[in-house]
Subunit: 347 residues, 2 copies
């Protein structure tokens, strides 16, 4: 990829400061800008550049167009001993998602488990950013979000569900959390765009042309297919549905197939009403804290010490590769593309 | 399949009575036999014959060998306003799983969400059986179970996780619930055995030979690969891990890679210590009951009325095919193979 050669590396602290300043300049309130910056840096730090600082331009445009509310008045309502609803008032989603996870943790501290639904939110970026916060507080965190239609149903001829990510983090004693963060499609649509620009064929079973027929041709790929591909895509579609029901139907958010798209949102100020669903679980209320730490340690030892098919690629737990990358980037800095360098005033 | 020709059809009520009698004769207590019968008939009714009445012989052998405790003293401990732990004392899992789901529903009635961990349980069959009960009580139900090693990690050369199913049911107003019930492998191992007997090739990316290399040869397939196959199996492996962490690590159950296998269990009375994790969520505490019913109805209308690639196969919601089959079998009866006919004293 020729653009790779133009990447420059910057320390996290500098990027953090510049991203924050950009968002505030675009009209975001200080606390919202802080949350968005934190979420983007989480992704950049662990190597998920698609959801990292690269997105700052996108959020700046949304703030400027009104596609995202720059002065939201979010309202959290506790609806039960273990539940709550958060109306994000159309603001930046990162702030709402951190808040929902925090409230879920606080509910779980009292009740053993806590769940918070979020509605009238927007695209929350990397789901993993929020669950890591729960894990840092000793809780198992789960979060999911619906999104605008991009993925067909199993056998469906139109995009229906969003890419609907599910993330979970589980705390480990004295080490980085187990961290899963997956979309319920096999690939994101920007992977299709990347393959187009590289002139490569797509893997089979990941995308479909306009009429819904599977295609490996990146040029004619019009939308995505659910995880599991041509034979087992009913599983990915069911998982996407699980996310839509919990994050969308249950919270009062827009349903994926009729949700305003992100492009539309930018041109005429319509807001998306994205929904999220956050759960926190306190290990102390199940097996107990000490036994949980021990069992989690055993589980990860068994996993990491198992034999791999290719001895050069040891078996890893979800998150291992990402935390490894974070340690590397703490030394090298974080790579930033030229467009984003300009937006951040770095060149 | 030649054995198909020997299937005979029996009414549900007759099978129910015979399965119950068989289990009681093998030493099960009345209430446990009832729960196991109910779970097996759920699977048989909706067409999931692999987890249906066919399993009665398996449970009879387990009860006779002591692999399952025929006189368990389960202990439920409420550990918080929204949480509890159930020690199933090595008994039949169906009874424990129904109990866990019921307790979760009752916790959710108070707290908005409820979660129950189960340990010292056994193989619980079709996960969908339990979540349907939550949906009948107006709750969204989720359940998952770990199990003994059968599925490799992504790039792993040995079976590590169990097939680790995840089921969710969401109530709908005046109609059957949305019902997802999926393993986190692409196929179950008995599909490999079926393909062996039929001399067919397996789909790609679903199974591996002894050394962990992917194979489509059913004869040499030694274990399963996670959902997502050779390129995206890291997602299926992460989902299997989510199940092991919640149903196994968190509850105090045995970890999949070191769990006693079901064969072993039958020969020398070792018990598995399988774990389950059940969650119930009350829609009334989120968007509210009336709005939930409306949104769920809209979601399913949008889903079912969307265009399909093949006009002979309309797009379906998870569970639609199964409820359709249940309506058919209410007329035709439930097919039973000759071995099971003998066990049930039907021939």
């Amino acid at each position: 990829m020729s653009s790779m050669t133009k990447l420059l590396y910057y320390p996290e602290a500098l990027l953090s400061q510049r991203v924050h300043a950009c968002l505030v300049e675009a009209g975001a309130e200080d606390t919202d800008a802080e949350a968005t910056t934190r979420a983007l840096l989480h992704a950049s730090r662990i190597g998920v550049d698609s959801h990292g600082v690269r997105l700052v331009g996108h959020y700046v445009r949304l703030l400027r167009s009104g596609g995202v509310n720059s002065l939201p008045v979010p309202v959290f309502t506790r609806t039960g001993p273990a539940t709550g609803q958060l109306n994000a008032d159309g603001g930046l989603a990162h702030s709402a998602a951190y808040r929902a996870m925090d409230e879920a943790v606080s509910l779980a501290r009292d009740a053993g488990i806590g769940a918070v639904g979020v509605h009238h939110s927007s695209h929350f970026g990397a789901a993993g950013a929020y669950v890591v916060e729960a894990a840092r507080q000793g809780m198992i965190g789960l979060i999911m979000s619906n999104s605008d239609a991009a993925v067909s149903l199993f056998g469906g001829a139109r995009p229906f569900h969003g890419t609907n990510p599910i993330a979970m983090a589980a705390p480990t004693s004295g080490s980085d959390p187990w961290l899963m963060d997956i979309a319920t499609s096999s690939i994101p649509f920007n992977r299709v765009k990347l393959y187009r620009s590289l002139g490569l064929s797509l893997p089979s079973g990941v995308a479909a042309s306009d009429d819904g027929r599977p295609t490996r041709d990146a040029q004619s790929a019009a939308f995505l297919q659910p995880l599991g591909g041509e034979e087992f895509g009913f599983k990915g579609a069911a998982l996407a549905g699980l996310v839509t029901i919990l994050a969308g139907v249950l919270t009062g958010a827009a349903l994926d197939p009729v949700m305003v798209g992100t492009d539309e949102e930018q041109s005429d100020r319509k807001r998306q009403n994205v929904g999220h669903f956050a759960i926190a679980i306190d290990p102390a209320r199940f097996i107990g804290q000490a036994a949980y730490d021990l069992a989690m340690g055993s589980y990860l030892d068994l996993l990491r010490n198992g034999p791999s098919v290719n001895s050069h690629n040891p078996v890893m737990a979800p998150g291992d590769r990402e935390w490894q990358e974070a340690r590397k980037r703490a030394e090298t800095g974080i790579p930033v593309d030229p467009d984003t360098q300009r937006i951040l005033g770095l060149i």
